[in-house]
């Protein structure tokens, strides 16, 4: 058991035994070491299955929406990126912050099991962080990797290690900011011709199997009835039969979270087809920054997002498409 995990479980136990909270949202051990999943704990007894390891990439903030409906006070453990999603949910009145205790926890980057498997390591039994290295133990021995080889895409471009909200924090070791430029992938595409971009997206989006995981996991996607669940729309959950349907789903999904997407990276993490969805969301983020000034969704739990705001000097669409920047 690592130190952070130890402290987290201890705190969860205290909160439950003192009845300060009714439930704790955390991660529960899965079938294997590398597949812990989000879970709700209501008793001290259940906490024996609590884990916090290198594979706890899942963002727990969205689970509050459903759990809060059942009533009671909830404690939730949030990594830095997850705290932004929490704020956004509060801002949109999806979560009542008074009913939640946010315990912000240390994160040194989460691992991508697929990347580790690609490196030829299977049956992982434990991982240990060691500065810029990760030691991966498996049934067949142990291997050492540089962190950037095995981190999740979202962690390679982690936007900040700052907690946007915290009632309490559990941090043992200092968290280092990631130096990566998260817009470089978008810029690369912007430099291509329209034909090349079209070919790129056609190639990527045609892999989509419309499992809807990207939507279901997204903390910004909390509509009770989603347009994609409307059978009459002709595009409710199904494998796309035409390129238009693929585009339609992805354009609308990305557009609907524009200005609200915190870039938590969950959509790309869960996509079973490895479609780089972050390249769609980040295009909106980049355009918003360029046209309306730097904006980070979830930095605060109040205020107006860029698409429900305007200034008289905003660029006209043609100028905006041609690369105009903000008039201060």
């Amino acid at each position: 058991m690592n130190k952070v995990e130890e402290l987290i479980v201890k705190r969860a136990r205290e909160l439950l035994s003192s009845k300060e909270v009714d439930k704790v949202i955390g991660w529960k051990k899965g079938e294997f070491y590398f597949d812990p999943s989000p879970a709700v704990f209501t008793s001290e007894e259940e906490l024996k299955d609590f884990v916090y390891n290198g594979f706890c990439g899942a963002n727990l903030s969205k689970y509050l929406v459903q759990e809060l409906k059942k009533g009671g006070k909830i404690a939730v453990f949030l990594k830095p990126c997850d705290t932004y999603s929490f704020n956004e949910l509060v801002k949109e009145h999806r979560v009542d912050k008074n009913a939640v205790k946010v315990i912000a926890i240390e994160c040194q980057g989460k691992l991508d099991i697929e990347k580790i498997k690609e490196k030829g390591v299977s049956a992982v039994t434990e991982t240990e962080e060691n500065g810029e290295e990760v030691i991966v133990s498996s049934l067949y021995g142990s291997a050492k990797f540089r962190k950037e080889e095995v981190l999740l895409e979202k962690c390679l471009t982690c936007k900040s290690k700052k907690f946007a909200v915290a009632d309490e924090t559990i941090v043992v070791n200092e968290m280092k900011e990631t130096a990566n430029d998260r817009f470089s992938g978008v810029e690369e595409l912007e430099r291509m011709s329209e034909e090349e971009r079209f070919a790129f997206w056609k190639g990527e989006l045609s892999k989509c199997i419309r499992c809807n995981a990207c939507r279901n996991v997204c903390p910004a996607c909390t509509c009770v009835k989603c347009v994609f669940d409307n059978n009459a729309s002709g595009m409710a959950t199904k494998a796309p039969a035409d390129t238009f349907e693929e585009q339609m789903f992805h354009i609308i999904r990305a557009y609907h979270v524009a200005g609200r997407c915190t870039d938590c990276g969950e959509c790309s993490r869960v996509c079973p087809q490895h479609i780089p969805l972050h390249l769609l969301n980040r295009k909106f983020i980049k355009d918003i920054n360029r046209l309306y000034g730097d904006f980070q969704a979830g930095e605060a739990d109040e205020g107006k997002n860029p698409l429900i705001e305007y200034t008289e000097k905003d660029a006209d669409p043609t100028a905006a498409v041609n690369g105009e920047v903000r008039h201060a």
Binding site: V186, L189, E190, E194, E195, E196, R197, F198, A199, F200, W201, K202, V227, A241, D242, F244, E245, Q247, M248, I251, I252, A254, Y255, A258, L280, K283, F284, D287, I288, L291, Y292, P306, L307, I308, E309, Y310, T311, E312, D314, A315, D316, P317, T318, A320, V321, N322
Partner: protein, 153 residues
Amino acid sequence: MQEVTEQKKEYVPTIVAFCCNWCSYAGADLAGSSRLTYPANVKIIRVPCSCRVNPMFVLKAFQRGADGVILCGCHPGDCHYVTGNYYTRRRMSLLFSFLNYMGIEKERTRVEWVSAAEGAKFSAVMNDFAKKINELGENKRLQDLRVKEERDE
């Protein structure tokens, strides 16, 4: 044996123009009553305000076979509902930029401000937009082939 003759129809682009009720639709009316012309393949859809146009409408128009989509609204500052077109401006800026990022030709989408007094501008804008779309040809990147087949039958 039955002879199959292939009919090659001349390509005429379909252009959808969303016009706001208070300025641009009146501008189109004025163009008509001033005997100014605009291409017959521009299909006008009247909306209460340019900000009524959900991004989905634009996509739907392309799905149903539009080769170009243009939104016309009151000049910023003159919106009948005071601020509607300011929101349109942001929404469409982001949508059009995004469509272009996905490889859709940027000339296929446009927003223009046309007041009720600007019949001449309405006609000039539509003629120019239709010309651009003619040059670009058929919209092949953002289309639903099945819908096109249905329509062409």
